[in-house]
Subunit: 205 residues, 2 copies
């Protein structure tokens, strides 16, 4: 039964490298170190192998935002954005291939869509709790800010190695920059320059 797992992983890897058409059953079998016939015996067809292979990649993408903002909002958001960005960077080849082949393989839509949507919704909820927008305009501005943060992470993950000039911040600090700008948009001042309350070294008066 170990051949199954090896084939699934190889299928995902070869697909990420060459897309559906380029991921031939010969290449997948070779990458898995398994005979091509075994592939068909275990999965019946290439279609079905690929379909199963997609299920296994899902849970790779970063972690979740907490339901309630904590004391150090910036730290929390930076951690989330960094993890999210790193996760997307790791599977960027897969995402690029998937997005390119949506018309030919519509069943892949859910792979991208289901993975992305909850992250965006989480961010909107979080931002709404942070800012508590009152007017409709403020609510819309908040949503737009979320779209822009989410877009920045998406575009950075997919575009940095293609158009590096459009991403001047170094890769490891980019997420922090995006979050800072996002917080400024929401009117949340950065934690650093604000007063520190009752820490051991606090000066008297």
């Amino acid at each position: 039964m170990i051949s199954r797992q090896k084939l699934l992983e190889a299928a995902a890897a070869v697909f990420a490298e060459s897309g559906f058409r380029g991921a031939t059953t010969r290449r997948i079998a070779e990458a898995a170190g398994v005979n091509e016939v075994t592939l068909f015996r275990l999965f019946g067809s290439k279609q079905q192998l690929m379909a199963e292979a997609f299920e296994c990649v899902h849970p790779l993408l970063g972690n979740s935002l907490p339901d309630e903002p904590s004391a150090d909002v910036e730290k929390e958001l930076v951690a989330w954005a960094t993890a999210h960005l790193d996760g997307m960077r790791q599977v960027r080849h897969m995402i690029r291939k998937t997005m390119a082949e949506l018309e030919e393989h519509p069943e892949m839509t859910e792979f991208v869509c289901d993975a992305k949507t909850p992250y965006f919704q989480q961010l909107v909820s979080y931002a709404t709790l942070l800012r508590r927008p009152a007017t409709a305009a403020e609510r819309e501005e908040t949503r737009t800010a979320c779209t822009m943060l989410s877009s920045a992470l998406f575009a950075d993950a997919l575009g940095r190695d293609v158009v590096p000039t459009a991403y001047p911040s170094p890769p490891n600090t980019a997420a922090r920059k995006y979050v800072k700008v996002f917080l400024k948009l929401l009117g949340i001042a950065p934690a650093r320059p604000r007063r520190r309350v009752a820490l051991g070294t606090g000066r008297a008066r």
Copy 2:
């Protein structure tokens, strides 16, 4: 010589629909209404046909930002962003396919990169003239804001029809929203709610 042009256009169209591997010489010739043999007589090989086809798509993407910001900055930026977004939306299939096949066809990199880079550089120059950032931090923040605006347009063009939930603003007003947020980031107040000077309906005192 008209067959040449028809083949070039058909090649670009079929490539945008199905990628390099999917764009078979049969399909291209059929789409062009030309015999397949003619394709090889005129271009020698599929590779060469595709290479020439790419040259013709370049100049499609929107217009330029002026060198100097004019009086109505918001209007100017909205017009630019809208045109840029529309242009990218029109060729989004092509961009998606190209980005997915960069590893296999590295010569396409310049197609994406050369098209994108100048737009970003223009935006940075424009924003720098607008805000005149003094400190290094301000300069970096300005660049990050430019990355985020440019990322928002990019992600909207490529992602809206895939993950619509992440783009709550309707397609025709989205560019305006992004620009407004961008201007707020730069500390440029929107033109509307500020004092209006010497307009007919201005109230006395």
